[in-house]
Symmetry: C2
Subunit: 460 residues, 2 copies
Amino acid sequence: MQRGFAAALGTWRTKEGPLARSLSAAVREAVVDGRLPAGTRLPSERELARTLDLSRGTVVTALTLLRDDGWLHTRHGSGSVVRLPAQLTERTTPWSLDRGGAGDADLDLTLAVTAAPHEAYLAAVGRAVERSAALLVDSGVATPGLPRLRTLLAERYTRSGLATRPEQILVTSGAQAALTLLLDHLHTDRRAPVVVESPTYPGALAILRRRRARLLPVPVTAAYGWDTEHLAETVRGKGPQLAYLIPDFHNPTGAHMTAPARAAVAALAERHALTVVVDETMRDLDLRTPPRPEPHLCGARVIQIGSASKVLWSGLRVGWIRAGAALVRELARNPLQAQLSPPPLEQLIATELLHEGEGDGLDEVLVDRRSRLRAQRDHLAGLLTETDWTYTLPDGGLSLWLHLGGDTTATELAARAAKRGLAVSPGPLFAVDRATLTHHLRLPFTATPDVLTRAVGLLR
Amino acid sequence: MQRGFAAALGTWRTKEGPLARSLSAAVREAVVDGRLPAGTRLPSERELARTLDLSRGTVVTALTLLRDDGWLHTRHGSGSVVRLPAQLTERTTPWSLDRGGAGDADLDLTLAVTAAPHEAYLAAVGRAVERSAALLVDSGVATPGLPRLRTLLAERYTRSGLATRPEQILVTSGAQAALTLLLDHLHTDRRAPVVVESPTYPGALAILRRRRARLLPVPVTAAYGWDTEHLAETVRGKGPQLAYLIPDFHNPTGAHMTAPARAAVAALAERHALTVVVDETMRDLDLRTPPRPEPHLCGARVIQIGSASKVLWSGLRVGWIRAGAALVRELARNPLQAQLSPPPLEQLIATELLHEGEGDGLDEVLVDRRSRLRAQRDHLAGLLTETDWTYTLPDGGLSLWLHLGGDTTATELAARAAKRGLAVSPGPLFAVDRATLTHHLRLPFTATPDVLTRAVGLLR
């Protein structure tokens, strides 16, 4: 046990600061890493001191720090047991975005992601395990998706106004996997240009750049939305066959495409044989009360992709493609599909989370997430009233898209923040040319209010 | 409930044959599909008859069939409960390879895969769930792999003679995902040729063809192994920078590369700046008692890839790359990696399966799987003694590579078998040119002895 404990901690001594503090930080990291599972009983103070070659006093101080922060539960006479602090399991902020409590780690606000909805997720895993026996006797090789999951996703589309049959759904390991598969299938002439928004999601840019696709940017701003005139000119002038758009709480601006603009894009696509891949990853993160979703951007030339990653958790690698049944059949035969299809158990967990009427369904999780995110968004907005940075408060999504006033560029600001331990994403990361959007900065509101307060303090 | 039950069955009436038989088949399919979880209580016979619009007699007959085959457990007074027959959970054969018991479905011997090691897998899932709390509070975004999993995989390599540090391991969603990621990274000039074996694994051929890579085949036979002379000439003459080889229980021949041949390949690679990707997916499926593994094919220019898919279960989508730490760091930054990285929970399950000393570890599973596969291999070999088909009995792997005597081509034989309800993979599927190897046929011995008996009966 002692040797296992020391091994689980790793090389914690190399860290700076007092030994007791380093030791307590190492224990926290080991718990969060899964190297020390919650429930692990620690060796006695005496044994710890001997094994780790520390004074008894250092060990006692480290354990006290852990106990005070809720990482250790001590019952008199039966030693100390590692546990996960309640505040970690009851919120939307991932641990990795919030090492603030430790005082010895950086703040990383480059990711706009949430922690898993802890209880609902574990309940869904439990139900999935109960129902997994039938899966386990099968081959486990990739399919277009578990029948029940395809049905639930199709029903979800149908309920939100877009009639869909299960055969129109292909389950993938996320929206990026969906985009990769679609590009492999539809973007076969590598010199063919692809329309994207500017700014747009860096994950999509990375995939498109890796294919060396020529990118045709169409401006989007939070205040005025999509420049559909520019889009129409681009389509007429350059003849692209493919576009990638994020009409629902666009990443990073938070813009939301109006119903007339959606209809115009669909009509343009039809007229010019332009296939539009619509990323609906943020669609369910409508922060208005009640949510007022626009109709889906849809049409004969439109393919929807979605994902549970932003709505539920990035670690649940389940996304999907909604397309014509014929295209879905073709995609299912693409050699890449086998690798971009999530494991059966993961699909079963997603099925359980989507399944209505068993409690802890997606809709119930969403009500809670939306209210937390709304509070965090408004807290962040409040912090920014004293700056000369401007933004349009988004109706949904996970981040604010700031415009910095004065001569400061976002790249300089991000570099200065990095020196003070805060990582943020400057505008050029979201730019097609990597060089413009220098006065913009994306600030996700997926962190807790106190982390946001510290982050804005560091930025100013 | 009744409505749910009818919905779970799907459109079973379209099937041929007597209604009672179709109904019982539909219930079995629904259980195996996960639409009717084991433990589901059926409506009463009267309710079933009414809901499904059948005579009471038909329902009783269908339920009796299900009960006789172990799919239904009836306790007097409390109705019937769906369950999974014991014989399904206690063997290596996936359900989808063996619908023989039903008498109304095809035999599919095109997949060489096994069912999950049921108990060990579920135990590992249980332990993973217990330890998942820490993962769930984190962002869930892709990493190079869970630290503990990378450590266990590195230790496994080190124990088998190839010293490895955790930083040299990148966890992927399988060996094909590993190959895809490596090709995306290393095969950047799409006109550059790639060396492959002939025959070779169709999954790898599909990935390479999708990239339109020019393939340079090197002959491998079960009897004589690798034509290293031909390989050396190809490398000297055509200057390829990349090769994909399966030295351990080569798929489909079962050939096992000798230690001197391994050394020769590694030396050739070093001399000619040839990067060799070595697929070790079958390495642990050594069917000799005791196993006598050759040293790993290794060297400065050699990258190993592996997977739990053949050894444990295809549904556990966990594989890996072993390479230099610098290359692993680069690969982890490739935009494809995020999509080819398995979900954290799946990695935790793999970790628990690999972890020694908690029972049900991989080695324990392997002892059992090897003995079942050995028996199935020998059963298949026994069935073939009365044919004029020849083969070299492989020391490991999952299939026999048959040479058909006479004028019969494998493609004709496969076509005839398909008409009789048996799907098999003819030689050209494994050929670089898709046209040769016409007298070869791959027969996996992952099916149960009685299915193998029926399959060989149909083939002859």
